[in-house]
């Protein structure tokens, strides 16, 4: 049987040539489309950076870096409190997320259980981590708001500007009483927290403005006033009332955490935790298993292997992932907005652990949403500062990776 296949008997050279030519042209056109679209992403980045640069360059000055937000003087507003706030919030966030994330990654990668149930638990934790990575950051913000700021209202109804809940340490409650000398006050420690006022009618022991103990004298109206300023500074007119003030040391701590930068940092920590876990896992996975086996073969235990062999080998990868995650944390606005609120009128960074803070993205968000042109320009300038911060962070990551890779044979 010498019948040829259909394709060979019915060949029409012209038609095939035309068809092939069309296919080739189509392919070339597709290639051109690919190049054009790939270039588009470069173009987008260029337009983005250019437009923000042009809009913000007029406001890049030392004022921007050293002053604080001012409602009335947009031309002299700055972002110093936001820079400090961002750094502190991200520091807190790193302190929470790095140990927790790296620990989880080590557990998931290096301690593979043999027990069937533990194996199931492990794969559940793994699935859970990848799901957490997909949760929108604003939901984490809501979690932070409920868990850290209000603590599920376990400590009673939160009211604005009133301390409620448990003050654990660092707070001194005092009565402030004005003395005869203008602009000078003495302080008397509060004994009963429910008593909001004190009336001075007899000499008491108290503190002066520099917290040195002094004896407070009472001057009865009608008698001659003391002349010596030293004495006047610790003499109070009889019947003067004083209100309460709270002096908060830097380690002031209370529950619930309220709208504090600590709560903000912890919330951000939750946001970047899955990112750190996934990056560290990849770094650990890329360590060749021959290293691990050699260590185990020499009689090291599992943990000794991790501590002395696997972890040091994975450090460059983990560091890179961690720094990228910190970059994400610095730029993240939604959770911070949820936890710390939208107020930006702070004149300095946080003064104590429970102090509110402004961060750069929240400030940018607030400025960008305003009508005045000055604030829009300020916003662009602040974006430039934020991007430069990110750039520095990423260069540090690259440097660290290079250093560590060079020091290792």
């Amino acid at each position: 049987m010498n019948k040829l296949p259909v394709a060979l008997t019915r060949h029409d050279a012209n038609k095939i040539a035309r068809y092939t030519k069309r296919r080739k042209q189509f392919s070339a056109a597709f290639y051109a489309l690919c190049v054009a679209i790939a270039l588009l992403s470069v173009a987008i980045l260029v337009v983005l950076l250019m437009s923000i640069g042009i809009e913000g360059q007029s406001r890049l000055s030392t004022d921007l870096l050293t002053r604080s937000h001012s409602e009335l003087q947009p031309q002299r507003s700055g972002m110093w409190p936001a820079i400090v706030g961002s750094l502190l919030v991200c520091g807190t966030c790193g302190l929470l997320a790095l140990p927790l994330g790296i620990g989880t990654a080590i557990f998931l990668e290096e301690f593979k259980p043999r027990n069937r149930w533990l194996l199931r638990l492990r794969s559940f934790v793994q699935l859970n981590v990848s799901n957490l990575a997909g949760v929108p950051s604003i939901v984490y913000g809501l979690l932070g708001l409920t868990m850290f700021v209000y603590m599920f209202n376990l400590f009673g109804q939160i009211q604005v500007n009133q301390s409620s809940g448990w003050e654990l340490m660092g707070a001194k409650h005092l009565y402030q009483v004005l003395t005869l000398e203008p602009d000078h006050a003495v302080f008397i420690p509060q004994t009963n927290r429910n008593q909001n006022q004190i009336t001075i009618d007899r000499p008491l022991d108290g503190l002066d403005q520099d917290w040195n103990p002094i004896a407070i004298d009472v001057w009865a109206p009608g008698t001659p006033q003391p002349k010596d300023p030293e004495v006047r500074r610790r003499t109070v007119a009889a019947g003067t009332t004083g209100g309460t003030v709270t002096d908060k040391a830097w380690y002031y701590f209370r529950l619930p955490l309220d709208r504090s930068f600590l709560a903000g940092g912890l919330t951000l920590g939750l946001v970047i935790l899955p990112i750190i876990i996934i990056a560290s896992q990849e770094a650990l996975r890329s360590v060749p298993s021959s290293l691990r086996e050699a260590s185990l073969g020499l009689g090291a235990t599992n943990w000794q292997t991790v501590r002395d062999v696997t972890f040091p080998a994975a450090v460059p990868g983990i560091m890179t992932g961690a720094i990228l995650a910190m970059g994400r944390a610095i730029g993240e606005a939604a959770p911070i907005l949820m936890v710390l609120g939208a107020t930006i009128s702070k004149e300095s960074g946080p003064r104590h652990l429970m102090d509110n803070a402004v961060t750069m993205p929240v400030l940018i968000f607030n400025w960008a949403g305003r009508q005045q042109q000055e604030f829009k320009q300020l916003s662009a300038a602040a974006i430039i500062v934020l991007l430069v911060t990110l750039l520095i962070l990423n260069s540090v990551a690259i440097l660290i990776r290079h250093k560590i890779q060079q020091s290792q044979p």
Binding site: T301, G331, A334
Partner: protein, 315 residues
């Protein structure tokens, strides 16, 4: 023959304490891993317990919440007259997300095809970092870009057909944000396709286009679909861009040139208005967040499952 030093001295450390500390450390690490589970439990507990507070109020029933076409939690003068129907917020989210996906999916996929199939190493070494930079830009910056550049140019092109704040400009910005993600995940999937398939296609006379689109893309299909789903869930949860560029009026329509408040946009607006803890308005936050969380969680879960279940192995 001298014995090794360790054997001469016979000074062995006890292994019992070593075993104990090993146990201790492993349980510490396990505790770390359990915290991640606790976070999920915390999220779910918070969402459920707080939205119970919302649905148990007299002002709202579950049916009204799901089918109502008016959302006036912040607009109405009197708190009692607020209407809580999720549909306007959902439609806003859907409009923004649709525009975003129309941008991110085709562009991301084609860029991924280019990177994995055609690009020379030199171009790759430029294009990949560019995409990584775009992926690392904070979202609030894209929001600012949307109101600074995208929205005015849309208005200019359409001759004023777009509102100042509109769903399209926010959607375009979200699309740009999702592009690197779609691109890198799809590219990973395509690079995992073994070269023998490509060589087979070329050997049968396929053009580069036919090889890429008819052989490599179908082979990497599960990875690409999961990339799409993850990008979709990222776009739904995106907050700062829509809070800046999409406007603050919840509208129930399909018109992408109008204002659109999304679910995330509402949450931000609510926080800015600083309602007291315990009011119905405050609890409505959680009801919206439950909806948002449920949608994104399902998307992510589905994406993970598709990637695991339908991953083709070419061993």
């Amino acid at each position: 023959m001298a014995l090794p030093k360790a054997l001469q001295e016979q000074d062995f450390k006890s292994t019992t304490t070593g075993m104990l500390s090993e146990r201790l450390i492993v349980s510490c690490l396990a505790l770390c891993a359990l915290t991640t589970v606790l976070i999920t439990v915390g999220i779910i507990y918070m969402l459920i317990s707080q939205s119970v507070g919302f649905f148990s109020s007299d002002q709202i029933t579950l049916r009204e919440f799901v089918t109502g076409t008016e959302w006036t939690a912040l607009q109405s003068k009197q708190l009692q007259q607020s209407k809580f129907g999720i549909l306007p917020l959902l439609s806003g989210t859907l409009r923004v997300t649709t525009v975003a996906m129309l941008i991110a999916l085709p562009l991301g996929l084609i860029t991924a095809i280019y990177l994995s199939e055609f690009a020379s190493p030199w171009i790759r070494s430029w294009l990949k970092p560019t995409l990584e930079i775009i992926a690392g830009v904070p979202t609030v910056v894209f929001g600012y870009f949307a109101i600074l550049v995208i929205s005015p140019s849309l208005q200019w092109f359409s001759g004023g057909g777009f509102a100042t704040f509109n769903a399209t400009s926010a959607g375009i910005a979200v699309g740009i944000l999702c592009l690197p993600m779609v691109c890198s995940l799809s590219e990973d999937a395509m690079r995992a396709v073994p070269n023998s398939l490509r060589e087979g296609a070329y050997g049968l006379g396929c053009t580069p286009y036919e090889t890429a689109v008819k052989v490599v893309v179908p082979a990497a299909f599960s990875g690409i679909v999961s990339a799409f789903l993850l990008a979709f869930s990222r776009a739904i949860g995106e907050t700062m861009i829509v809070a800046l560029a999409a406007g603050t009026l919840p509208t129930f329509s399909a018109d992408p040139t109008r204002q659109a408040q999304t679910m995330t946009g509402f949450i931000v607006e609510m926080i800015k208005s600083e309602n007291e803890y315990g009011t119905v308005q405050h609890f409505s936050l959680y009801a919206v967040a439950v909806t948002l969380f449920a949608i994104t969680f399902l998307m992510t879960l589905l994406g993970q499952m598709i990637r695991r279940r339908f991953q083709e192995s070419y061993e």
